[in-house]
């Protein structure tokens, strides 16, 4: 992993301008609060993961001790400290999802892709990660792939989603049963 670490990191001019805007949103003396959006910018700029150099860079921008920035970056599972596949699958493993069959979802992903949680497929396409509650328990079980949520999953729908992605197609985002949001209107409920 260490040889993947770039020696240095700088924001692109666009991101730098954006960073300035973000920092300006916080009251004087509280600029440190910008650390989360800035780390996120850095991660996006760097292809979905956050190298050490980027964390150091953001710490420098905000004049916060480096160790604090590393604490933040390692605390949030949304930050990837190692390179990930093109599609980062985050499997929710918290109680509501688990009650609704999260285990089967995890098993399906693992078998379909031939890797375990924490691993990346050899072709660099998929990484599986286990995370805590994604905040969409109403539509449990849930997984997140990059920025999109996939909800009300079943082993079958998971297979379909993965097949689509592997084939370069865009799968259907959101509830797989067609439930409209978290609505109780019943539309799309099983």
């Amino acid at each position: 992993m260490n040889n993947m670490q770039p020696k240095s990191f700088f924001f692109t001019p666009e991101n730098e301008a954006e960073a300035k805007k973000i920092i300006a949103k916080y009251p004087a003396g509280k600029q440190v609060s910008a650390i989360l959006p800035l780390l996120d910018r850095a991660q996006r700029q760097h292809g979905g993961w956050l190298p050490s150099a980027a964390i150091v860079y953001v710490a420098g921008l905000l004049s916060v001790p480096e160790v604090k920035a590393f604490e933040v970056a390692s605390f949030y599972t949304m930050f990837n400290l190692e390179p990930t596949g093109k599609y980062l699958i985050q499997l929710c493993r918290t109680t509501p999802c688990w009650l609704k069959g999260g285990e089967d979802i995890a098993r399906t992903c693992e078998t379909r892709l031939g890797i375990k949680a924490g691993e990346t497929t050899p072709d660099g396409l998929f990484t599986i990660k286990e995370v805590e509650c994604l905040g969409a328990c109403v539509n449990a079980p849930v997984m997140q792939i990059n920025d999109d949520y996939y909800e009300n999953l079943t082993p079958d729908s998971v297979m379909k989603i993965l097949d689509d992605l592997a084939a370069g197609r865009k799968p259907k985002v959101g509830s797989q049963t067609g439930r409209c949001g978290a609505c109780s209107c019943g539309k799309g409920d099983e």
Binding site: E66, V67, E71, F75, E132
Partner: protein, 691 residues
């Protein structure tokens, strides 16, 4: 807005507290003990361990008392069965992953977790889960880690952030995966890192040099003071069977609060090595041979016979106590010898006024300062506890710091005013912007390093600093911001006692060394003086009195073994002019004697007897002549009188007065721990400076 003096009831007792007092503190005021792990009175409140739970009436659930401010009319219970059960539950959780290894843990016997578990824990474990194991972290030669024992109180992280200022530790990942670790594994760079051993409530961070050497209940505890620098931190010497096992800090709000520097704590293994345990006389073969006291003193008496007093000189070292300096001074007076000096660094600035050579701002008063100009000084390496106070003050905000000298990493931000003494002029003349900062400040300070004053233009710097202090409102009835930061524990005492050249022809360090080299000196008495260039003393007959076979002893013709600071009752005057005493924790090694006693014995051998049989007698005579030395722990206000000669400020940049914090005297030079620090930490510190 809270109420100015909330009144609350704790266990049926009413108490009125200052606004902002936490429930835990209020309980303490009533003498009610609240168990705690994460709370530390000198660190910010984390509220993370939950051990301090109490019940507050009308509150829906138990309350963490360390993080709950008192409010009017609160009714608190700390001793109900419910509270007991709550604490028991917390304790059970804390112990879920804690290894049961007290018998092999160095914290045993002084472990908060052990003590509190004893008081609040259960004796059964209900968990059948696998315990978590955490990889140990490398933290350098001083701290050994056992991270599985860590209870994640974050005290160590907060200490590094809030006291040491090096931000070296962090809590990475979270929940079950949380690990406390240095950002970069390897030696911690702070000179205060040893305090982590005390700060950590469990055995996760313990002392590496002391590992498995003793148990706390076997130790004899002696309250004393430190002599590794001029600050004189309050310490406790823990000894067993005549051996110093470790040194730990003692509370002194005026000086070190409850911390000490790593040299103070860890150099004590140097007390066991290379000790002079018997007198030595250089034989005809040029080698030092062991001798009896009578022989050694006889040789000195014979060699000094018929030597002109003007061809004899004495130099006092950095660790010498006042009693020794006083007795030595008296003996020299009796012998008519005026050549003497206690300033091994060769400084010659005017010391006729006390305010000219001490910190006139007591260390605790740094907290009132709002602007500081550091001149040729690195307080981090020269007086770690002073730097800690500056950092504490700076952290609170509203203090500007200016630096003239090397741009070292001090932990706080500063404006780099210049590299050479000439920058003093720029500030004086208002050419540098920092002048207006000082002008605007309410309580401005200047701190001049001892190293700056030992330079060729030391007198000019001294005078310029005084001028600056006077013209920037630093000298007032209620405030004196002029400070000289001495490095040597013996220095202020030596200057107070006037251990400087006497009479019209008396020579100081520089002339004495030149005379020795030029063959114009017949005898030189080194009273613990090791920081001089001993290679160029010519044919001079050299007597060395001290505790360690260091530079001075190696060159000496007669060596007289003396007690180290842990082995004697001695008076020292610290950098603020505060009089303090060391206390004997262990007996001197072998034949070694206390310094004053050696001088008294020598005086008899020289037929110029000093009338002292006990240290009390010397001290009594000393206090009779210098009454302030009897006022222990007093920081008196020093009268401001004109001093200094002045001269031309040089353009030559200031160097580092203490290039290696870990090696500044004969004791640390032989300490294996200090050697390990020098090898492991110094290169990293220097690299850090470079970046």
């Amino acid at each position: 807005m809270g109420c100015p003096m909330p009144k609350l009831t704790i266990n049926g007792r009413e108490v009125e507290v200052a606004e902002g007092t936490s429930v835990l503190q209020a309980c303490e005021q009533l003498g009610i003990e609240i168990p705690r792990f994460c709370y530390h009175e000198r660190l910010s409140v984390a509220g993370s361990c939950r051990m301090c739970l109490v019940d507050v009436e009308k509150a829906p659930r138990p309350v963490a008392s360390c993080a709950m401010p008192c409010s009017e009319g609160m009714v608190v219970h700390t001793d109900t069965p419910a509270v007991k059960a709550e604490r028991q539950a917390v304790m059970e959780m804390l112990l879920l992953n804690h290894p049961l290894e007290c018998p092999v843990c160095d914290q045993g016997g002084e472990c908060d977790l052990q003590d509190i578990a004893f008081a609040y824990g259960k004796d059964r474990c209900r968990s059948r889960e696998v315990r978590r194991r955490v990889r140990d972290k490398a933290m350098g030669p001083l701290i050994v880690t056992a991270m599985t024992r860590c209870i994640h109180c974050t005290r160590c992280i907060r200490f590094m952030d809030e006291i040491a200022g090096t931000h070296e530790l962090g809590g990475f990942y979270r929940g079950e995966h949380l690990e406390i670790a240095p950002l970069i594994e390897g030696p911690l760079l702070s000179e205060l890192s040893g305090n982590l051993v005390d700060v950590c409530p469990v055995g996760a961070l313990t002392s590496k040099p002391y590992a498995f050497r003793a148990r706390p209940w076997e130790l004899t505890k002696t309250e004393s003071i430190d002599v590794m620098d001029a600050v004189g931190s309050a310490i406790r010497i823990d000894s067993r069977g005549g051996e110093v096992m470790r040194i730990v800090p003692r509370l002194h709000e005026g000086i070190n609060e409850e911390w000490i520097g790593d040299k103070t704590r860890f150099a004590c293994d140097g007390l066991r090595l290379q000790r002079l345990d018997t007198p030595y006389v250089r034989g005809s073969d040029g080698k030092l041979q062991p001798a009896s006291w009578a022989e050694a003193l006889g040789v000195i008496a014979a060699r000094l016979k018929n030597v002109q007093p003007s061809r004899i000189a004495a130099l006092a070292g950095d660790l010498v106590d006042c009693e020794a300096l006083f007795a030595m001074g008296q003996l020299l007076d009796k012998m008519d010898v005026g050549n003497r000096d206690c300033r091994q660094d060769g400084a010659v600035y005017d010391t006729s006024v006390r305010a000219a050579y001490v910190m006139n701002t007591p260390i605790a008063s740094i907290e009132k300062a709002d602007a500081v100009l550091l001149v040729g000084v690195n307080p981090r390496t020269e007086a770690t506890m002073v730097n800690a106070r500056l950092y504490k003050r700076w952290r609170r905000g509203g203090m500007a710091v200016g630096v003239i000298g090397q741009a070292a990493d001090l932990g706080y931000a500063y404006e780099h005013v210049g590299y050479s003494p000439v920058a003093l002029r720029d500030v004086m003349d208002g050419k540098h912007a920092f002048a207006s900062v000082l002008k605007a400040a309410k309580n401005p300070m200047i701190i001049v390093g001892a190293g700056a004053l030992a330079r060729g233009d030391g007198e000019a710097i001294h005078a310029a600093a005084r001028e600056l202090a006077e013209s920037f409102g630093m000298i007032r009835e209620d405030w004196n911001g002029f400070n000289v930061l001495q490095q040597a524990a013996a220095r202020v005492g030596g200057l107070d006692l006037g251990f400087v050249p006497q009479g019209q022809y008396g020579m100081g360090v520089r002339s004495i060394l030149a005379a020795a080299q030029g063959g114009r000196l017949d005898a030189l008495y080194l009273l613990g003086a090791d920081e001089i260039d001993t290679a160029h003393l010519g044919k001079t007959f050299v007597i060395y009195q001290g505790s360690h076979g260091d530079r001075g002893a190696q060159r000496a013709d007669v060596v007289l073994p003396a007690a180290a600071y842990t082995e004697k009752d001695g008076t020292y005057v610290n950098v603020e002019g505060r009089v303090q005493r060391t206390r004997r924790a262990v007996p001197p090694v072998g034949e070694a004697m206390e310094d004053w006693a050696i001088i008294a014995a020598l005086s008899r051998a020289l037929a110029r007897p000093l009338p002292y049989e006990t240290v009390k007698a010397v001290r009594g005579a000393m206090i009779a002549k210098h009454p302030h030395l009897g006022r222990v722990d007093d920081v008196s206000v020093n009268a401001w009188q004109p001093f200094g000669k002045g001269g031309t400020l040089s353009l030559q940049a200031f160097g580092a007065a203490v290039p290696n914090y870990y090696m500044t005297n004969a004791i640390c030079r032989v300490s294996p721990t200090m050697a390990a620090c020098t090898a492991a930490i110094l290169p990293l510190q220097q690299k850090g400076e470079g970046k």
